[in-house]
Symmetry: none
Subunit: 247 residues, 2 copies
């Protein structure tokens, strides 16, 4: 360990490790499919505890840079350019004439946030055109509940419901199904951990302000403002969850 580096929090720790490991991947010394050394080796190699190392690996996993498997090891994920192309074609299974089943395999939080950024701004534009008084009331109700929530878990529940209610107000059942499915993912343990780690009281306050501006614009039928506010909100959420995005 380099003794020149005074180990302040900003210089060491999870975030610094993420950048270090990411640079290994970026410069090609760790190519797709490369098996990372076991955590118990990396721990010594980087001079940090296993807990800290694992936090960094978790961040890399969330960003879709690596995949990890119990008993197998951690591997550098295929680069975006190498992503399998053909899987989509055989991933659907028709179960009846009017219903299809889609299995979504291991969508990373990064991918999910990207899709949310596609779907939600579009949905709120439609919602601004089509929402009725009941829809607006339901949305405002979610907003109020989230603001009155004490527990973080409560806030997150009503936060999720708010976004669902907005998409539902688009009156497009297909869009709603897509979004609701994605939303399921956010209730999985992995995603919950990610949220809990990133949700500081200060951020929660900002989110609530954004929510209010979004809902107000929607109630005013101001599609353009609603879209922009929602987009900004999602960009901030993504940045808080996954760090700065560079694609």
């Amino acid at each position: 360990m380099d003794t020149r580096n005074i180990r302040t929090r900003a210089a060491t720790g999870a975030n610094a490790l993420v950048q270090l490991i990411e640079s290994n991947i970026a410069d090609g010394s760790w190519t797709a499919g490369f098996k990372l050394p076991p955590e118990r080796d990396l721990e010594k190699q980087f001079g940090v505890s296993r807990n800290t190392l694992r936090k960094s690996l978790k961040l890399l996993q969330d960003k879709g840079r690596i995949v990890r498997h119990v008993g197998r090891g951690s591997f550098v994920a295929p680069a975006r350019q190498d992503l399998p192309q053909s899987r989509a074609l055989d991933s659907f299974v028709p179960v009846s004439a009017d219903s299809l089943v889609l299995r979504i395999h291991g969508a990373s939080p990064a991918e999910i946030m990207e899709v949310r950024l596609v779907v939600e701004p579009a949905a709120i534009e439609l919602a601004a055109l089509r929402a009725n008084a009941g829809d607006v009331r339901r949305i405002r109700d979610c907003l109020t509940q989230s603001e009155q929530a004490g527990e973080i878990a409560d806030f997150e529940h009503w936060d999720g419901q708010l976004h669902v209610a907005i998409v539902a107000a688009s009156k497009n059942s297909l869009l709603m199904d897509l979004y609701a499915t994605m939303n399921e993912t956010r209730n999985q343990p992995e995603w919950l951990r990610l949220k809990h780690r990133s949700l500081t009281p200060e951020r929660r306050r900002i989110y609530q302000e954004q929510h209010r501006r979004i809902v107000d614009a929607l109630a005013d039928r101001d599609a353009v403002t609603a879209r922009n506010e929602l987009r900004d909100h999602l960009l901030l959420v993504r940045s808080n969850l996954l760090g700065p995005v560079n694609s």
Copy 2:
């Protein structure tokens, strides 16, 4: 700690053996028809257990590299021009096991077109950033096929494939899965009738021109133009399918 000499599982074992044996075949030291040594010899030669060796042989068999017969032995398979290897066998990167299930119930053509108008323009923007040469080639191939198609059914098939290929080039597997599932809906009877009724030769000619402009913009990495052209195309398709839209 010297990690070079630590025989990690990925470095030895089944996967490494596959590559080792495959190189023997590739460099011509084992030609087609060559009888491999018995498993009980190879086991010692490679220093692994028979179970592990057999796992590797199974992978090679699945890839069509060797054939095996009880009581006779294992033989190098005749070389084949096409290698229809399943990607799962080709890639040693384990994919995450968790999966979500999406059910789509009887989405109407109007809803589907609306979602396409949301998803595809966004996808082509991402694709303009991320598509590699192979993606562009695949997309151009669909375009060519659709232009050379005689039958209406052929044209529609390659039309569909073209749009799937564009979304696939966005490298977001979640977006890809969502879109491919939706696309499957378009093969249902109601949708087919709608398409056949609306697709006149004149319209087909216009679609092809639009397709070409879209693909050219994508190949030029011109995200804005690609997005706008694709949007115009989808608006025209929707209008032709469903009549003037007044939402």
